[in-house]
């Protein structure tokens, strides 16, 4: 794909987050630059869940962290509510931090092994001075109950005493402690078994309904994001391929990459046959991305045009945008 363009940006609506032309480059060696995120724009409305999907190395986690200014992006703009995060100085940025929180992929290593669960969940409240000891203790108990843990049982235990799924519940409790406007979940279930994965996905849905959260849900697995998202953004090698509501994307993937991702998901039904390896190989190095459309080297429909000209996002159906010169017919 992958292309540029802002056709998918919305004019009105209550935008919690607006990202414009975000670029994140890393230096690798003296002359080489890794172009991890190469000009991505999108917006997230209040109450929406935007899923960001792509293979390892497509820049989806870098994008998530760049929104949080961890580290600050190379260029581009990130607006949270009315605040332009990229122009805030460190102390002003710190004041904004409680409004955006993150849940990480590895539930066990993202919790401090030496702290008791109550201290882990209490830490953000304590740092930001939300209430006295008694109030905070009440809040911690409420949060633990909300994520399906029994405070009386878990309060005094430490992370290693819990399974991956339970640790992820603790992470979720911690992340919503400050009532953030925006919650970024980076592969929150990919380290979990399918049975536990379903529990955590449902819990995130509950939390969203209950606390009015706006979420960005980052994953490599399209089957996981279908249930939880209201809009899906497919990324490839630092660029946006396709943006669509989930039902439209799964029914009619316009981009060849999105189609390949959907086709790779194993279907638990032997009559439907096996998931075919729909694309060969792995993405090229972001140190030396292909010209034009970045997906052309693996794309079954690539032509000379794709090497010469980068496709721009355009609308192929209401709310369904694709950056491809030769999209799949509808």
């Amino acid at each position: 794909m992958a292309g540029t363009g802002k056709a998918h940006m919305r004019q009105d609506g209550d935008k919690v987050l607006e990202v414009n032309d975000l670029v994140m480059n890393y230096k690798a060696g003296r002359r080489t630059v890794v172009s991890a995120v190469a000009g991505v724009s999108f917006d997230v409305l209040r109450g929406e869940t935007l899923a960001i999907v792509g293979e390892s190395g497509c820049g989806k986690s870098t994008l998530g962290k760049a929104i949080l200014q961890l580290p600050r992006p190379t260029s581009g703009s990130v607006r949270l509510g009315g605040d332009e995060l990229t122009s805030l100085d460190d102390s002003a940025l710190r004041a904004v931090r409680p409004r955006m929180q993150m849940i990480f992929q590895d539930p066990i290593s993202s919790l401090d092994p030496r702290l008791q669960v109550r201290n882990i969940v209490d830490e953000p409240l304590k740092v930001w001075g939300r209430g006295d000891d008694a109030e905070r203790e009440k809040k911690v108990n409420e949060l633990l109950t909300a994520v399906g843990l029994d405070p009386a049982v878990v309060r005094d235990r430490r992370p290693w005493e819990f399974s991956g799924g339970q640790c992820q519940r603790i992470s979720i409790a911690r992340s919503i402690a400050l009532d953030p406007e925006l919650l970024i979940c980076d592969e929150p279930v990919s380290a979990l078994d399918v049975s536990i994965q379903a529990q955590i996905l449902n819990l995130l849905q509950d939390m969203k309904d209950r606390f009015g959260l706006t979420m960005i849900f980052i994953s490599h697995d399209l089957s996981v994001v279908k249930q939880v998202s209201t809009r899906v953004l497919v990324m490839y090698l630092g660029k946006v391929c396709e943006v669509a509501p989930p039902d439209a994307l799964y029914a009619n993937p316009a981009h060849h990459y999105a189609k390949a991702l959907i086709g790779s998901v194993p279907v638990p039904d032997p009559r439907r046959g096996r998931a075919k390896a729909t694309i060969e190989g792995e993405p090229p190095s972001p140190m030396n991305p292909p010209s034009g459309c970045r997906f052309r080297t693996r794309c079954p429909a690539a032509t000379d045009l794709c090497a010469q000209q980068e496709p721009e996002l355009r609308e192929v159906a209401a709310g369904h945008f694709v950056a491809c010169h030769h999209p799949n017919p509808r």
């Binding site: 399974s163 536990i196 379903a198 991702l261 194993p266 032997p270 009559r271 075919k276 390896a277 060969e280």
Partner: protein
């Protein structure tokens, strides 16, 4: 039967630990035919990994194993570790779960592949090198000569898993255990790796045991499936029969918890409430009873026997879905 490559009878594996005696595998019997592909499915802690390690004899010091394992006519349960070693690589091989940590980080890819070839098959260094290049080509690693000189850290996760496969199949084993071979990989790479395993299996009539928590992964790549729960096989059937005619409520719950792409978005996924039972204190009745929506008092107090439906389909349940036989 002579066409069985592996016959396991009443295998028990337990570990002594500070928490007590962990009963990881509790009486599993299974036979695998030549060229057959078997899926072993269950949640973390169901005993599926310990089962395959127990069969191969790759258990830790604190493990106790009882029951018999007969591999290609040899009774493995009576062998010493050194005698057992002669079957590893050439007879049985294993692809381990985590491609990030299963390779030696300070040795080049080439020497790790060639080790089995020189030690087991007695090849010279030159022979082993050219075979290693063939193997890397076979698992579709671009520029195999350059890859021989690389260290694991220089390869992506998908590439490392391909190297693991190349090492496992280097000595053309008759039986390959693949323990969650694709869990750490992207879906696109997962599809490629599973297809590669199918090809290798077809080429040399190798038997395979594919261990995974995802029923979706085994659906298209196995002839038969064993569903494990709390150290026991709770349902076993030919793949098509299992999906068409599921008997065990646990199997059904496991299947339903997979996110479905063919359902509209915004729906809740049915979950299996609760957790696996404590492995140090097995339930007196059906191990799944505390989490089962159909459980009765009988389920909680009495062990359900293994019911054989006669068509290769077995299950352990008093109240199977769709009635018993």
């Amino acid at each position: 039967m002579s066409d069985n490559i592996l016959v396991v009878d009443d295998l028990h594996v337990s570990f002594s630990s500070s928490r007590g005696n962990i009963q990881a595998v509790r009486g599993v019997s299974v036979s695998i035919r030549l060229g057959e592909s078997i899926g072993v499915v269950g949640e973390s802690g169901s005993g599926k990994t310990v089962l395959s390690r127990g069969i191969m004899g790759l258990l830790t010091q604190n493990a106790t194993r009882t029951g018999s394992v007969e591999f290609a006519g040899h009774d493995l349960s009576t062998l010493t570790r050194d005698e057992l070693r002669t079957h590893w690589g050439t007879g049985m091989a294993m692809i381990f779960q985590d491609p990030m940590t299963s390779l030696n980080p300070v040795r080049r890819i080439g020497s790790q592949i060639m080790e089995g070839l020189t030690v087991r098959l007695g090849m010279s260094k030159e022979q082993a090198k050219s075979r290693a290049v063939e193997l890397l080509e076979r698992v579709r690693i671009p520029d195999p000569y350059a890859a021989l000189r690389k260290y694991p850290a220089q390869l992506s996760g998908g590439m490392r898993q391909r190297v693991m496969i190349a090492i496992a199949v280097a000595c053309t084993p008759e039986l390959l255990f693949a323990d969650e071979p694709t869990t750490a990989l992207d879906v696109t790479v997962q599809a490629q790796v599973l297809e590669l395993l199918d090809e290798l299996r077809a080429e040399s009539n190798m038997s395979m045991v594919l261990v995974t928590h995802d029923l979706g992964v085994v659906a298209g790549h196995t002839d038969r499936i064993l569903v494990m729960y709390a150290g026991q096989v709770v349902e076993a059937a030919p793949t098509a029969e299992l999906f068409a005619n599921m008997k065990m409520p646990y199997t059904e719950a496991l299947l339903k918890s997979i996110p479905r792409m063919d359902l509209p978005s915004g729906q809740k996924i049915p979950v299996i409430a609760g957790r696996l039972p404590d492995p140090t204190q097995p339930e007196p009745g059906c191990a799944f009873a505390p989490r089962c929506q159909y459980a009765t008092d009988k389920c909680r107090t009495e062990q359900p026997p293994l019911v054989d439906m006669g068509n290769g389909h077995q299950y352990r349940c008093f109240f199977p879905i769709g009635g018993g036989r």
